[in-house]
């Protein structure tokens, strides 16, 4: 019965309630999308394997390592697999078509990254074609590539026109596996360098190491770096996770800004909703005083006011959450080259719910306190 009162009070001023609900819904939508965006940057980090290490030049990512390191690393205890590659940074037609592309040693790379799933035929074709390349499913879809197509990239770090034959299109083993990568046979890069710029031949941009067990990761990383200490090219080995974080931290400031904005949005809607609730409660003060006269206590009155505010905020919140999914889908369609996956996590949904509940509660703290404490005689006077 008091619940009935709460619900009917909530929809007494239809327009006012609808506008408040709309405001909360939009705020929660914005909050959810911004949180998803932030989550995405870290996603690459999370999905990276704890059993994979990346070794690079200790001075900087832009300096390569001799290819001879491969065999010395393989001999270190705890190393199970080793692969290597170079960041290629090629451009497809023009700069706007950005996607990650690099040269890798095909066989070991696919072994080390089982999450990139190829059919056995495609895998075989890729490994045995010096001009072979593989693209992720989303990337291939975007440009309408089919297996067997010829694809030309314009080199930036390695100048020239580079022509590849698409030998495979991989699928991600998991929902959040990146399906926008492009990789090709390292031999093509190396043979070309041997002919054109010999001093840049036989160099790897990075080594990827698969360790036997995650517990060995730290120990192996140390052993690798110790091996090349005091050599011409010292190494820095870190887990793939840390390596990715290194990338992410470059954009840390932007991420923090986005996070702050997401909370600011919630604070703004709190203030707006609090104003509306205060106005509503002020109009009803005589009704609350009447209820008190009948014997209802401060807790009842506060409960009725809280309830109304929370009902409105939660309705807005749920609508906002529901809208987040198609909105996220739309963003993914538009920006799939930047965000291979734009997946709304359940964590975001819980945060959305908590935020809308928070809006409902904070918006009604002051009105509830006032409604509960105003002397009855004063409240009754506000009539007529």
């Amino acid at each position: 019965m008091l619940f009935k009162l709460i619900i009917r009070n909530a929809f007494r001023h239809k327009l006012r309630s609808l506008l408040t609900i709309l405001g909360v819904a939009i705020a929660i939508l914005a909050f959810g999308l911004l949180r998803t965006l932030v989550g995405l940057w870290y996603l690459g980090v999370e999905q990276s394997s704890a059993t994979r290490l990346v070794t690079r030049n200790a001075i900087s990512l832009v300096f390569p390592l001799p290819i001879s390191y491969k065999d010395r690393i393989r001999q270190i205890e705890g190393v199970k697999l080793i692969s290597y590659g170079n960041w290629f940074g090629g451009i497809y037609i023009n700069e706007k078509n950005f996607f990650p592309n690099f040269a890798v040693e095909p066989q070991s790379y696919l072994e080390l990254y089982p999450e990139f799933v190829l059919t056995p035929e495609q895998k075989n074709a890729f490994i045995h074609d010096q001009r072979g390349a593989v693209a992720g499913r989303k990337l291939a879809e975007k440009y309408g590539w089919k297996v067997g197509d010829t694809i030309t990239l314009k080199g930036t770090i390695f100048p020239g026109q580079w022509t590849f034959v698409l030998r495979g299109i991989y699928r991600g083993a998991q929902k959040n596996t990146d399906e926008t990568q492009f990789f090709f046979n390292w031999k093509y890069l190396n043979e070309t360098m041997k002919r054109t710029v010999p001093r840049r031949a036989d160099q790897a941009g990075f080594y990827m190491i698969g360790v036997q067990k995650p517990e060995l990761a730290a120990q192996v990383a140390q052993a690798v770096d110790a091996t090349f200490k005091n050599s011409l090219a010292e190494t820095l080995t870190e887990t793939e996770r840390a390596f990715q974080l290194g990338f992410v931290s470059m954009t840390e400031a932007i991420l923090i800004a986005i996070e702050i904005v997401s909370y600011v949005v919630i604070v703004i809607i709190m203030v707006v909703a609090a104003n509306t609730m205060a106005m509503t409660a002020r109009e009803r003060i005589a009704e609350y005083a009447t209820m008190k006269t009948l014997g209802f206590g401060a807790r009842h009155i506060a409960g009725v006011i809280f309830g109304e505010s929370v009902v409105i905020a939660l309705i807005g919140g749920v609508i906002g959450i529901i809208l987040t999914f198609p909105a996220a889908h739309g963003i993914q369609e538009q920006l799939s080259q930047f965000f291979p996956v734009f997946h709304v996590s359940s964590m975001t949904v819980y945060l959305d719910l908590a935020a809308s509940l928070g809006v409902g509660i904070t918006a009604s703290i002051f009105p509830a306190w006032r409604g509960a404490t105003i002397p009855i005689a004063d409240g009754l006077r506000r009539i007529g």
Partner: protein, 232 residues
């Protein structure tokens, strides 16, 4: 200050040395000064007096929705001035029914639900509540309107719903602040007749503040307040 009230009937309200003032800024406005009187059980008392004389204030004090400065108010033998806020709330729920000038019904609740509201504090089951509500709506002659919202009822009908709400918990005392103040002649007449019935048939004690001489006529006893003092 003798009255018929004292003659052979049980005293239900006994007021002794009651004073009340309000503070406006640093100015103190005395409203009631050393007011003493008694009300007998089954009395229909009209409180009259000019505007600002403190009638509503006195009524609120008797009904336990305002605090005295000094003096005591005994209702049914218990001193309500010593009760805490929460104790007063429970006391009101049981012993006092309220009738207001502007009815004070919840606009979002139907007549039935408005009358049911005070019963939510009693622990009665849904079925018993329904029986009580239907009974009092019959008493006020509005059983056929119980699904109407206040905005769908006339002023007189709304006031009768409010009276039903006031008596549904079966309190001994009803307080009414200008119950006919917002009604036309005919509706006012209905409401007063109804109140008269409550006194005669149900043995309620009614304390009514009014400006309306016709309303006062219905009462058994009229008391006048003049600048915070009780006269006659």
């Amino acid at each position: 200050m003798r009255s018929e009230a004292a003659e052979g009937r049980t005293v239900i309200v006994s007021i002794e040395g009651l004073s009340k003032s309000y503070r406006r800024g640093n100015q103190i406005i005395p409203v009631l000064q050393d007011v003493s009187f008694t009300i007998a059980e089954g009395e229909f008392l009209a409180l009259m007096g000019p505007s600002g004389s403190g009638k509503s204030t006195l009524l609120n004090l008797i009904a336990g929705i305002d605090k005295v400065d000094t003096g005591s108010i005994l209702v049914g033998g218990a001193d309500i001035t010593s009760l805490s806020e929460a104790e007063l709330a429970s006391w009101r729920a049981i012993h006092v029914g309220f009738i207001f000038q502007f009815y004070n019904l919840m606009p979002v609740l139907t007549a039935f639900e408005n009358v049911e509201l005070p019963l939510l504090l009693t622990g009665l089951g849904r079925k018993e509540r329904r029986e009580h509500v239907e009974m009092v709506l019959n008493v006020v002659g509005l059983a056929d309107r119980m699904d109407h919202y206040p905005s769908q009822l006339s002023g007189g009908q709304q006031q009768r719903v409010a009276i039903a709400r006031a008596i549904v918990t079966d309190p001994e005392i009803l307080v009414a602040d200008e119950p006919t103040g917002d009604l036309d002649r005919a509706s006012a007449e209905d409401v007063l007749t109804l109140m008269d019935n409550l006194v005669h048939e149900f043995g309620k004690t009614i304390i009514m503040v009014t400006h309306d001489p016709r309303a006062a006529e219905k009462a058994h006893l009229i008391r006048h307040l003049e600048k915070g003092f009780l006269s006659q």
